[in-house]
């Protein structure tokens, strides 16, 4: 058997151009985690259900485990690491999770944060029911979701009050 052919994949990740040579079948989630070593994106099921690997592709939330890295070469990707403010303080959704006890073990959290970040761009003033729907594509085993819903509402409140968010 021959070794696998490698392809150069160049991406803009969290505003920085990064690249690696990988096989065609390398999942975007694995590419980010193991080739680029950005391990904030987590993998919970590898079949697109749990949402832990959700990243923003050109600003839209997608499952990193359902996309090959080669198929998004040239794109801009944002991960949970990239939602931290430029001065190192927490981004607004991250801060809201902290203030609302929106996480316990923290494994599913990055996928929720990226999802909510994108959602609030489209709907900056969700009701509680809308907040519940907004996170209904991500699984969490620890929190019972109650404080994640609270985090969505808190993030919206923080944005309204003009709290710094660079992204």
């Amino acid at each position: 058997m021959n070794p696998e052919e490698l392809f150069l994949v160049e991406l803009t990740v969290n505003g920085t151009p990064l690249s690696a040579r990988v096989p065609a079948r390398r999942l975007l989630s694995d590419f980010l985690r193991h080739d680029l070593r950005l391990t904030g994106t987590h993998v919970g099921c590898e079949h697109g259900v749990c949402g832990a690997c959700t990243i923003l592709l050109e600003g839209k939330p997608v499952r990193g485990c359902l996309i090959f890295a080669v198929s998004v070469a040239g794109s801009a990707v944002t991960t949970v690491e990239g939602l931290v403010n430029n001065d190192g303080t927490l981004g607004v959704v991250q801060r809201a999770f902290h203030e609302s006890h929106g996480l316990q073990c923290g494994f599913c959290t990055p996928g929720f944060i990226t999802t909510i970040h994108a959602y609030l761009k489209e709907n900056p003033h969700p009701t509680e029911e809308e907040a519940r729907e907004a996170i209904a594509g991500n699984l969490c085993r620890c929190t019972g979701y109650q404080n994640i819903i609270k985090s969505v509402l808190r993030a919206a409140e923080l944005i309204d009050s003009g709290v710094r968010d660079d992204h």
Partner: protein, 798 residues
Amino acid sequence: MTTKSFGEPILRKEDPRLVSGQGRYLDDLGHDALAAAFLRSPHASARILDIDVTDALEVPGLIGIYTYEDLEGRVAEPLPLLIPHPALLNGRTGYPLANEYVRHVGEAIVMVIAEDRYVAEDVVDLIKVSYEILKPVVGIENAKAAHNAVHPSVPNNVSAHSVKEVGDARAMIESAPHKLSLDLFIERSACSPLEGKGVYAIWEEDSQELRLWSSTQTSTGVRAAVAAKLDLPLQKVECIAPDVGGGFGVKIMHPWPEEVLIPWAARKLKRPVKWSEDRREHFISSAHERAQEHHIEVGFDEEGRILGLDVTFFHDNGAYTPYGIIIPLITSTQLLGPYKPASYRVEFTSLFTNTVLVIPYRGAGRPRGAGRPQGVFAMERTVDAIAKYLKLDRTVVRERNFIQPHEMPYDLGLIFQDGRPLEYDSGDFPASMAMLKKMVGWDDFETMRSEYAAMGRKIGIGVACYVEGTGVGPYEGGFVQVETSGRINVATGLTSQGQGHQTVFAQIVADELGVPIEDVFVTTGDTRRFPYAVGTFASRAAVMSGNAIALAARQVRDKALRLAGEALECDPQDLEIVDGIIRVKGDHTKSIALKTVAVLSNPLRYAFDESAKAATQFAVGDTSKPPVPEDQEPGLEGKDYYSPMASTFANGMHAVIIEILPETAEVKILRYVVVHDCGRVINPMIVEGQIHGGVAQGVAGALYERMAYDESGQLQNASFMDFLMPYSTEIPTVEAGHLETPSPLNPLGIKGAGEAGVIPGSAVFASAIEDAEGFEIRRMPISPSELWELRRTMKENA
């Protein structure tokens, strides 16, 4: 004054790291390690005839293929039986890799090590195994029938049998004015943490040392087990639990086969090796829980007081019993909950089946629950049945059977899972029930029911109570150290899976020492920092390590005050510590910083920084005494252990109001109310979070999740597509009320809280569905189609 943090909703110290992608979970480590993948049995019961690796050997990047034949020394022996028990007559454990026979789908047969995981899985696909397929035993009925054997050497598939009696329950039932019998079933579910298991091992050839990381609930347990298996001195093995993405029980089992095999391979290959479990592997090779079948005979008087309770149940323990029979033991002892039947008899039989092994799942364990949800389901269904029979309010029958506050401590006459007498230390059940009824509007519910009925809508209300033994021994320890920078290092051996230990333990130390919480840094689950520990399960961490850390902090405080007293030339009793400064009470001009006392505590020869300069021999000390006085140690630190005489018992009561849709039989949750008593609360925000999460698992176990095995032992829903773990849209907003009856058993007066939410889940929903529909609910979980079918059968029979 230093702000008191015990009892305050302090925001978590671990969050900033975890929300910004800086957590370090198992698979975030070891990027350059070799990767392992496993070939697992596709059959529930089979004999392995041949393993052909010819094609597999051609794959570039392959490092090694290992079968049972390759295993050496104690690695080739059966895995340990962790918790032996006299009732466990026929305990059986598996091998790290299957030795001729496989006994459940998912059992590991071949380990492949390769340059990366993709390649390792390619290799697995090319290995051909031929099997002689045997007839499997699936489900409690088949196990009982014993037409086939899971282990040929175990008669009737029975691993364990136990009978316990308090009084003569059978005679009491016989002579009771009223009798009922019930058959109650609970199906299998699983902990399902979002992060699967994982192991990463580095072997240092030069120093002959092993460092391993495991996504575990007990790093000390894994360390000891691996050292024994690899025949290494304990001192040559260190085990670290990194950030762990949820446990709920499944990660307290150890050593998992992979926890033995990955270090073994790392040593053999002299290269770092890592394995991260994928979701399918987790479903078919980790652990499940809950499947039990109960038969109940109960005798009671006109008032509904239970005179005799006789419970016979069967427990499905899967293919192996490495964790003993903890689950049925917990069911049998915790079944009674807050009630005091005049007599009690419980008999259980634990059965082998060709399915994944079981391990206490929350409620039997944050492990959330272990064996308790089943026991509570059995007891609460029984109480509801008595109420229905006597046409009494369900809460009235409960109140009449409650152990009263003045009867505490209450000895139930049984032996608990820790081998100690089952004695409730505290609790005020009538007060809890009164609070619950008020919160949920129990007495006004009939009005609400009529209002809904007028709109053509059907609603029901359910109630369930539980008592939970928490803070199970034998012990935990704590270490507290003040650095000369003022940084406070705290370590305890047990592990964390999201319970906020870095925060709650810091709260305890901040209060005990009088320092800002920002200065306190907690490490858990790292044998390099604290080698003695048991693990995180059964809602024990806050009770056990919390108290141990408090005791260690008190030692540090005493030593600091003594040294400060010498420096300030005053009686230590006149001193206080506020915001990290030790000062004379009432005279704040006389003071010394805690960090300066840390400097004084450690007389130095070498000045490596400014604070050290102050501690060098020419700077400090009474020249008439040795630099470190006899019977003292250098450094400002303390270590202590907490080992309780007995478990402390938390309790709670849940009520749910549901609506059942007429066409689809879908259950909608209108309100979910929890009243719980976990003693003194360290951090109410974190306790409430634990309850939310527990309730979510309770709802999941009652209405959605189950392990769907077919008759050949194939798990048909081994993915998140088919195993219905609820999303936010299925989980209610929890209204929680808190009652604090401090535990008299420990210095901090706390009880465990990790499982409070999950335990009464199936019981409370069964109660509510029965109330709404009017017919008996005897089997949980219940899906809309099952409920719809039940309705139809009831209508036909009517």
